[in-house]
């Protein structure tokens, strides 16, 4: 396992801005946010986004339960998080304002559709009086604009019902924000043209609303914002969410291995989109099946792997629990299998749309008996692509199930994305069984130097064999109740996973020096926030480094060596110390946990405060 000591780069300071759109689920704030983000990327910025959807069921229009929000941070340097607080908050109705005002920085800009603050809407949001009426200028600069009226007026000539016309309000808002940040009008108009090609009315309405918004911003001399400019950061060609990147990564892995990709899934928030994406890829050879439940889904994936494909199943916490028994079988059979867990807040049904990292336990230890499984975690939306390839690579090359952890925040957040070159990625070697020379007997549980058995796919003449979940004799795979053999097989299964560590170049990444006062440890989706906070602290001259764990299992001894080089070690995770526990047990270092269980990623300031506290303690 190699340790990469990353040299802190110049590109980590600069200008960045956070914009947050909020409104009713029907107001199109997700579309507005995504579009704005996209043009920021095209302008050469780095971005990080965070969408917040209402809880599962559609709440009544105008209610606080129905509020949807989208936050994006963009900048001319590396942007690691979606930002703690918004510089600009766009609120489409009172319910959105009341639930989102706390996200606006003191002294920021609040753009609100004053036309949406009617009596009924105010009451629905729980306001007695209109909060815009005597808005405290110290709290924020209020930019009130009657989008409703202006849009209705601009669209007066179209043959549209009021309700439909009002659906273009988000484009008015975009017009305002585009003007503020000097984003190109032409690109937007082109895109509207393509996106709404099917309906003349809608296309023209959105175009008109957007232009009206821009014009209004210009005429009212709305202050233009200090505009982040693209710097050395290579921005992407587009943005990508974690679930999409993960899906593409699985497909890329199949291509790199020259194997079929078979996906068995049962829908569950926030993993369902992986099923949706892959169901669309039938023309590209993907077989995606919606199973009757999670147990069937992993069963199908395992059956597919047995049949010579890369079997994949994707789920979230409750589904992960259901897959435990079959995952144990996969360990015993030693077949490749990728189990994706897009973590959400638990226990039980918990908060299905919210992010958490509390499935490390179940991924590492949630099986009966000794059933070791490699576990890898993606660290950012775009990284889901690479993490998926890594998971599939280890699964296939080492004939083992692998758990790939993502989370609700990574799943839906977006990052810039440029087309990866598959030629730059090492192909995945498939340990196919071959009939041994000289008429010798092929043994299903004979192993190579890395303790990997070979894969005899049904259909291959001459290699017929039987495998199963009962303990098997080392080598032949026959059923065995022999105690010494069980001891040996347990040991083999353990070492087989342990040796994978020797080849994981990406397992540990240290940012900063290899010793110092404080080591911040992250894994999975806490990467960005921790990196940002460590950057900040280093700029203030603190001797803080950052260790990111890509693999939760196997863990290399060098992690202990690194940790021992610091006065203090702080493990930041969205749980109560699950990976912390492993680090302490393994390396006997007195690492401490920085735990948060609020259903959302860490904020930059929270981490900064924790770092300062740890340094002063």
């Amino acid at each position: 396992m190699a340790i990469a000591e990353e040299i802190p780069r110049r590109d980590e300071t600069g200008v960045s801005v956070v914009v947050r759109f909020c409104g009713d689920s029907g107001d199109g704030v997700q579309l507005a946010g995504n579009r704005f983000t996209f043009d920021a990327v095209r302008a050469g910025n780095d971005v990080a986004t965070f969408p917040e959807f209402p809880a599962e069921i559609r709440a009544p229009a105008g209610s606080t339960a129905g509020v949807s929000a989208f936050q994006v941070q963009f900048g001319d340097h590396r942007v690691y998080t979606h930002g703690d607080e918004a510089d600009v908050l766009v609120a489409m109705n009172p319910a959105a304002l009341t639930t989102n005002l706390a996200h606006l920085k003191a002294g920021g800009i609040l753009i609100a559709d004053t036309g949406a603050f009617g009596r009924k809407a105010l009451a629905q949001a729980g306001y007695r009086d209109n909060p815009l009426d005597d808005f405290d200028p110290h709290r924020a600069r209020l930019v009130g604009v009657d989008m409703t009226a202006m849009v209705l007026e601009a669209l007066g000539g179209f043959d549209m019902k009021r309700r439909e016309a009002l659906k273009s309000r988000n484009f008015f808002a975009l017009g305002v924000v585009y003007w503020m940040f000097g984003r190109g009008e032409d690109e937007m108009l082109q895109w509207i043209g393509k996106k709404f090609a099917r309906s003349d009315t809608v296309r023209q309405a959105n175009t008109a609303a957007f232009k009206t918004g821009m014009a209004w911003a210009e005429t009212t001399e709305l202050m233009a914002f200090e505009r982040p400019v693209a710097d050395t950061v290579a921005a992407g060609e587009r943005t990508i969410t974690g679930n999409e990147a993960l899906s593409l990564g699985l497909m890329a892995a199949a291509a790199l291995a020259d194997l079929e990709l078979v996906v068995g899934c049962y829908p569950i928030t926030p993993a369902s989109d992986i099923l949706h994406y892959l169901s669309n890829e039938r023309d590209n050879g993907v077989v995606a099946i919606q199973a009757e439940d999670e147990i069937a889904a992993i069963g199908m994936a395992l059956g597919a792997s047995y049949g010579g494909a890369i079997g994949v199943t994707a789920t979230s916490g409750p589904g992960m629990a259901l897959k435990s028994e079959t995952l144990g079988l996969a360990v015993s059979l030693e077949l490749p299998l990728v189990v994706v867990d897009v973590q959400r807040a638990g226990p039980s049904t918990g908060m299905p749309t919210r992010a958490e990292q509390a499935d490390a336990n179940i991924a590492l230890a949630g099986r009966s008996g000794e059933a070791p499984v490699p576990v890898v975690a993606a660290r950012s939306p775009a990284d889901c692509f690479h993490a998926a390839i890594a998971a599939a690579r280890i699964a296939v090359e080492h004939m083992t199930p692998v758990v790939l952890l993502s989370d609700a925040a990574l799943a839906n957040s977006a990052e810039p994305w440029s087309t990866p070159e598959l030629a730059d990625i090492a192909p995945i070697r498939v340990p196919r069984a071959r009939a041994p020379a000289g008429g010798a007997k092929w043994l299903p549980y004979a192993r190579d130097a890395r303790l990997v058995r070979s894969w005899a796919v049904p259909g291959t003449p001459g290699l017929q064999h039987r495998i199963g979940g009962l303990e098997k004799l080392d080598g032949t795979g026959e059923i065995s109740y022999d105690g010494a053999n069980h001891e040996r097989m347990t040991d083999l299964r353990e070492r087989k996973v342990a040796v994978i560590g020797e080849r994981l170049d990406d397992a540990i990444e240290v940012y900063g020096e290899l010793s110092g006062r404080l080591l911040m440890v992250s894994w999975g989706g806490t990467y960005g926030a921790v990196r940002q906070a460590v950057c900040d602290a280093r700029q203030l001259g603190h001797a803080v480094s950052h260790l990111h764990l890509r693999w939760l299992n196997p863990m290399d001894d060098s992690i202990g060596d690194i940790a021992r080089g610091f006065d203090r070690v702080l493990v930041a995770e969205l749980n109560r110390g699950q990976v912390l526990e492993r680090l302490r047990a393994r390396f006997l270092v007195d690492a401490r946990g920085l735990s948060m269980m609020a259903g959302r990623p860490f904020g930059r300031r929270e981490l900064h405060n924790a770092i300062v506290k740890a340094l002063n303690s």
């Binding site: 069963g299 440029s418 192909p427 001459g462």
Partner: protein, 331 residues
């Protein structure tokens, strides 16, 4: 057995049933009905000239589920109840294989009932052989979903309080496209059904009544008698013991004298009649039907879901580039 050298040579010549046996000691109890079933399975493979590598047996857990260890083809002894799901994945990944599922009344109808239901409904091209001994054998004698009502067992000392599942009824209702019944000792019928099942394209469900001499000896004895059974032959009247099954004026099945105008001619494509036959149970007072009850041609699932083409590196590179070009909106 697994010596690839001799194996390859062997597939060139005609194989006998012995060639399909494995080295494993068969570990069922003396007198277990599973032996007879196994023998017919070996024989069927020889009869159809099966290439060993093209057949796979997937099973769950139970006495019956040890089956794969005794047949020299590919085999996977899975976990309790999940064989239909595993077999589904196997078949879609590798559609050229002939995939058999061996399960028990507990494995298939208790813990695995939902998987079985959905696999049959989707018309997955797998051949499910359910060994129904009306008891849990491997775990030593608890009642199963097919146990007779009132049966005292280790987990129902005062008698089983549940009404039994009718496996054929379950299968027809679920949507199996091939439904049949045989009994362990009826070698001819077992053989015929196995051969027919092997070539059916779609979900096969065969209930095989199997005696467990240890925990429920003789439960099927009445059905070994000609008065207790009607052997269905496509195109022939449903005759048994000098009588015939027919449909009375209320639309119900009833027994009539041979030659009665209400006598039913068996038509394997007649789903409605199959449903009625499948519903015959302990309490119907009618003979149990044996043979192929129902058979239908309908698109098998692996055809419906098959991916087009294979993902290779150039193809995937194109796919990736296209996705960036299109600049799709994330949803």
């Amino acid at each position: 057995m697994n010596n690839p050298g001799t194996e390859l040579a062997a597939t060139e010549r005609t194989l006998s049933r012995k060639d399909y046996q494995t080295d494993n000691d068969v570990r069922w109890c003396p007198g277990c009905g599973d032996y007879a079933i196994l023998a017919q399975f070996h024989k069927m493979l020889a009869a159809i000239g099966a290439r060993k590598e093209e057949h796979v047996i997937v099973s769950g857990i139970g006495c019956s589920s040890r089956f794969p260890y005794y047949v020299d083809c590919y085999g996977l002894h899975g976990i309790h109840g999940r064989a239909p799901a595993i077999a589904t994945g196997l078949k879609v990944a590798n559609p050229d294989l002939t995939v058999w599922v061996v399960t028990g009344d507990g494995d298939g109808l208790s813990i695995g009932a939902s998987h079985l239901l959905h696999a049959l409904r989707r018309n997955v091209d797998i051949k499910v052989l359910l060994f129904n001994n009306r008891i849990y054998g491997l775990t030593k004698g608890q009642f199963s979903p097919t146990s007779p009502r009132g049966l005292p067992t280790r987990s129902s000392p005062a008698g089983n309080t549940d009404d039994p599942v009718r496996p054929l009824d379950f299968a027809v209702t679920a949507g199996a496209s091939f439904v049949a019944r045989a009994i362990d000792t009826d070698t001819t019928r077992l053989q015929d059904i196995f051969i027919a099942a092997a070539s059916h394209r779609g979900s096969v469900f065969v209930e095989i009544l199997q005696n467990c001499p240890i925990f429920l000896d003789g439960v099927f004895d009445a059905l070994r008698d000609e008065r207790g059974r009607v052997d269905l032959v496509d195109g022939e009247p449903m005759e048994f013991a000098g009588k015939v099954l027919g449909r009375n004026e209320r639309g119900r099945l009833e027994s009539f004298d041979t030659g009665h105008h209400r006598a039913l001619i068996h038509d394997v494509t007649d789903r409605d009649t199959a449903r009625q036959l499948a519903a015959i149970d302990d309490s119907s007072g009618l003979p149990f039907p044996f043979g192929i009850l129902y058979r239908e041609e309908r698109a098998a699932q692996h055809e419906a879901v098959a991916g087009k083409g294979r993902l290779d590196i150039p193809g995937m590179q194109r796919r990736l580039s296209a996705s960036s070009r299109v600049r799709r909106q994330t949803p």
